[in-house]
Amino acid sequence: MLFQQIINGLTVGGVYALIALGYTMVYGILELINFAHGEIYMLGAYLGIILFGFFTSVGLTSHSLALSFALTIALSVLFCSAYGFTVERIAYKPLRNAPRLSPLISAIGVSIFLQNYVMLTQGATDKVFPDLLGSAGFDLLGARITYLQVLIIGVSFLLMLALHLYVTKTRMGKAMRAVAQDKVMASLVGINVDSVISVTFIIGSGLAAVAGIMVAMYYGLVNYFIGYIAGIKAFTAAVLGGIGSIPGAMFGGIFLGLIESLGASYISSEYKDAYAFAVLIVILLIRPAGIFGKSTEEKV
């Protein structure tokens, strides 16, 4: 029972973590809460359904499920990255030197726009993602683990590892950290800060797209509103871990998934969505900057 809940929690938590990374990376660099990020995730889920449907209709899926699936993910990531890039250029970049509230309002505007855009073009009713793997799986330590869960947990952790390596080892990744710490100094060493910001949006949106497709497969249903609640949860996860901190977002997402899953089975599933916020309040009372967060005095 406990092991089962841990597996379920890791599955959802991995997805929260992927979305939370987009919030935290953008916040780390721009101190902006990108309210439109949840909508990018929602777009990823829709694109997953549309693209997979397309590949099925042209016969690719029956020919090779793996290829069809890989192309679906790759193209959805590509589209969502393009959306993320464009949103930043149109809605945030012109407000770079405006008062802090302006980009925040712009972000809410983009979020509402994207929701309505998807509702008008895709309809207000739920869309169904084809059930590919069904409930196939295996039993381990008394828990039923589906292949889909293995896939989701595996992909989430692999992407987190990849992001960690990217940020700590590559030239661009180090530049991202430099920009987050001091934009003026980053310019003075020759970093093109605008490109680094674009790359940040592109990576965050790509991760959200993958999260979107995986959730669509897990729950089987998608509607234009899923970005809202997932966005709030992932944002909570980012704050929990310490907004601006990449390890914090990973930890916060997984922690939140586990809390929800354990709370739902050991306390009551009616309040599933409330546990996240209860934990958030408690943690912020003890550590206002989040678990991995830096206290503000440190940030000179």
């Binding site: 180090k174 950290r177 430099a178 980053a186 310019s187 060493v189 020759g190 970093i191």
Partner: protein, 234 residues
Amino acid sequence: MLRLEGIHTFYGPIEAVKGIDIEVGQGEIVCLIGSNGAGKSTTLMTISGILRPRSGRVSFEGRDITNVSPHDIVGLGISQVPEGRRIFPRLTVMENLEMGAYSVVGNGQLKTRLEKVFELFPVLGERRKQLGGTLSGGEQQMLAIGRALMCGPKMLLLDEPSLGLAPIIVGKIFRVIKEINDAGVTVLLVEQNAHAALKLSRRGYVLESGRVTTQGTGQELLGNEQVKKAYLGE
């Protein structure tokens, strides 16, 4: 090599630099002295492209760079050690230096430059894995200078490199500036420590509330009565 003509720079409605003309020749050390708020840092930030002058012209090696973006200015060979050092606190010493070389494509020269910096400041080599934020003030200043050298600049802008450092370290920093200049790097030095700066410099400018009030060779300024009174505490 570097020429500022009629530069006016504003912070919103506040005019911090009010029409200055400065010239730095190839191979020179030129210093800019002046009291707090005179506009020295504003001038350096305008040269680096972080601040845009409302009017006037900055040119480097004959080329107008007034509207070139900061990262491209670094690429042209102007590197700045800003006021307050601005070490990336949560990057290691090594990563700070790597960022200094960000504008350099291909890393053929990277290793030799790194070795040069460690030769100049051996303590940085010992602490290469430490986070920048954990270094002492003097070590941070050395790192800031080392970082600025990593791009192999033709010209180095230094903003109050001796500020807040122990006299022993100040001496070391000034010796290093001389060494860097001897190696062929042109230097524009902003200092409150006017005596040491003027002794080191071929020429100097005195800045007061955004205007150049006096200029001359280092020797001339050291002997100038007004400069003595205002900046040398004599």
